[in-house]
Structures are given as C-alpha cells and as structure tokens.
Amino acid sequence: MLKKNKKVNTDTAPSHVPAPVEGKTIIGEQITIDGTIQGKEDLLIEGSVKGRIEVEAHRLTVGSRGQVEAEIQAANVTISGRLVGNINATGKVEITKEADFNGEIKAKSISVEDGAYLKAVIELEREPGKKPVPAIKPEDKSASEPVKEPLILAGKSTGKS
C-alpha cells in the first residue's frame, strides 16, 4: 500500500493551495509495481518494483525487504535490500551490509558497508590527472630479488636485519 508517513491535515488546509508535504512515500511489502514511478518526494521501497524510478531531487531507499529491478534517477540512494539496475545519483549512494546490488552506479560519492553483496560498475567524480610516470616493465630473472619493505606495527617498525 502507498502510504504517507506525514499526514496532511485536510480539514484545515485550503483545498486550492497545494500542500507542501515534506514526507516520504512508502511502497509496502505486499505491493508490486511494474512501470515508471516519478515523484517529488523521498521514496522508500519495501515491496517489489520493476521498471523506472525518477525522484530526481530526492532520496530513494530500498529497504531490507525491498526487491527492485529498475533504472534509477535520484539525488541520493540508500540500498539495504535487493537491487538490480543502474543508478544515476547527483549526490551519494549508500550501500549497507544487508544489500545485494548488481548494476552500475554513477554518483558524486559512495559509501559501502563491509559485507555488502556487490557486483557493480562505479563511476565517481574523478580526481585531476596525475603526472605520467614510466611504464612498468616485466622483471628479468636476475632482477627478481624481492625488495625488503619493513612492516609497521602501530607506528613501530618490525623490520629486523
């Protein structure tokens, strides 16, 4: 069922003035949608959605019970459920450890918790290019002696000679 988590008081609000609802739409666990969803508020999906989701200036959350197969345009995206598809986010994409994600992510920034089940292609805003350096050449046998690099343990060198 589609729900608002903040109800508008229709008794007092004038009917001719659009109510500036700053709420969130929830697609419940028992709901399945096949098609395009467009919106101008945050969206939480706990049900199943297949198609396209456009909440361009808002947050999309795929809850832990959510199952989504879609192309997504949003400002910010949080994934805790299962999502197959491509995300184009103007802000941040957050992937929690409960998430199962397969697809492409284009975003300004990303956070991923250890343990997330991930197969992704990620494009973030790149750092300015660095000065090129000579390419690496394969070692010959005589140059294969390993170079010692001491390991630092909490600021202490353990390299013993």
Binding site: K119, I136, K137, E149, L153
Partner: protein, 204 residues
C-alpha cells in the same frame, strides 16, 4: 605444495599483531596506480572484499571501477556446499576489458585448481599490458582470518578484519605462487614481512 588450514578458530594473542594495528606502505599499489596513470583513464576490477575506502580511492582515479566481491561469493558457495567452480561465472566480463585487476589475497583462499582457473580468467579479461595485484599472506598474517586491505593516503595499507568471512587459508611457497600465476608475468615483488609478499603481474 599447498597446505590447508582453517583460520577461523585461531585467535591472535599478541595485541601488537592484531589486524587493526598492522599497516604498511604498499609499493605494489603505488606501481599499479603509476602504471594506470601512464595511459588514458581505464578500467579496474576489484575482486573484494568490498571496502568503502578502496572503492572511493580507486573509483576517483580510474574511469570505471568494477567491483565483484569473490570473497563473499566463495563464502556463500562453501556454506552451501556448492562447487567452487560455479563462482567463476560471475566474472563474465568481455575479453581484454581491464587495465588492472586487484586480486588481493584471493588466491590464498583457493585450492591450486581454482587458482589456475582464476588466473586463466584474469588473463582473458586483462588488456595486453594490464596489471594484476596479488598478495600472499603467509602463516603469521593469515591466522588473523580474512581482512580487507584498506588503502589510505600515500598507499599506506592497513588491515581490517572481515568477521563475516570464514574462508580457509592455503599457505604456499612463493615459487608455487609464481608458477600458478602463469601465463601472467611477474613484474615486481616486495616482502612486507616474512611470509607476507606483494606481487605485481602483467599480461603480455
């Protein structure tokens, strides 16, 4: 020859040797990034475990970062009793897709046959001249269990335990590792501590 041990039931006793306390400067990662910087922005594949810091680090330096966590896939596969060979179908990328592949210590978690399958796949999906980063932990570090290798500023790497992963460890001699990585060519190797080595391999 490879030996087999389960690392999950080996608590570390020396607090100085806890994974969180370990950090080192990675020469191989520095060479890897320098190699990538020599060419137009390319594509890198990270085989996991997924690590927020590494995703941000590499995704801001390459054109496209591919992440396919084979550690968690291996964990689930072993947990179900499935054949390990099934996980390789996840690496269904077109031939010569990548300028670099980050294998980390994945080979240490696989038997010889599966390492050869992995290397063959990597050879196929690497571009000519592409690079692969391989870590060989050795018994002393491997007893910590599975860690992610968190890359920080100036290629300083610290270990972060992955308690959700309980994978077996295969301890190998360096020469065995080099033999198994054929047909990739060893480009550089560095000892970080006894038994803990970093390797950079390249494809012809």
């Amino acid at each position: 020859m490879a030996t087999f041990a389960t690392s999950a039931d080996r608590p570390w006793k020396d607090p100085d040797l806890e994974p969180n306390a370990i950090e080192y400067n990675s020469n191989v990662l520095q060479l890897f990034m320098e190699g990538l910087d020599c060419q137009p922005p390319g594509q890198v594949l990270d085989l996991g475990p997924v690590c927020q810091e590494n995703i941000s680090f590499f995704a801001r330096r390459v054109k496209r970062l591919y992440v396919c966590d084979m550690f968690i896939r291996l964990e689930r596969c072993l947990g179900k009793g499935d054949s390990v060979g099934r996980i390789w179908q996840e690496l269904d990328y077109p031939p010569e897709s990548f300028d670099g592949i980050l294998l980390w210590e994945l080979a240490d978690r696989l038997d010889d046959k599966e390492v050869r399958t992995l290397v063959k796949l990597c050879h196929t999906i690497l571009k000519p001249g592409g690079m692969a980063v391989v870590l060989v932990l050795g018994e002393q570090i491997a007893r910590f269990g599975v860690n992610s290798f968190v890359v920080g500023q100036d290629f300083k790497v610290r270990l972060r335990p992955q308690p959700h992963l309980h994978l077996p460890i295969r301890s190998r001699q360096n020469r065995d590792v080099l033999a198994m990585m054929t047909p990739l060519n060893p480009a550089k190797s560095f000892i970080c501590r006894p038994g803990f080595m970093e390797f950079l391999f390249t494809r012809d």
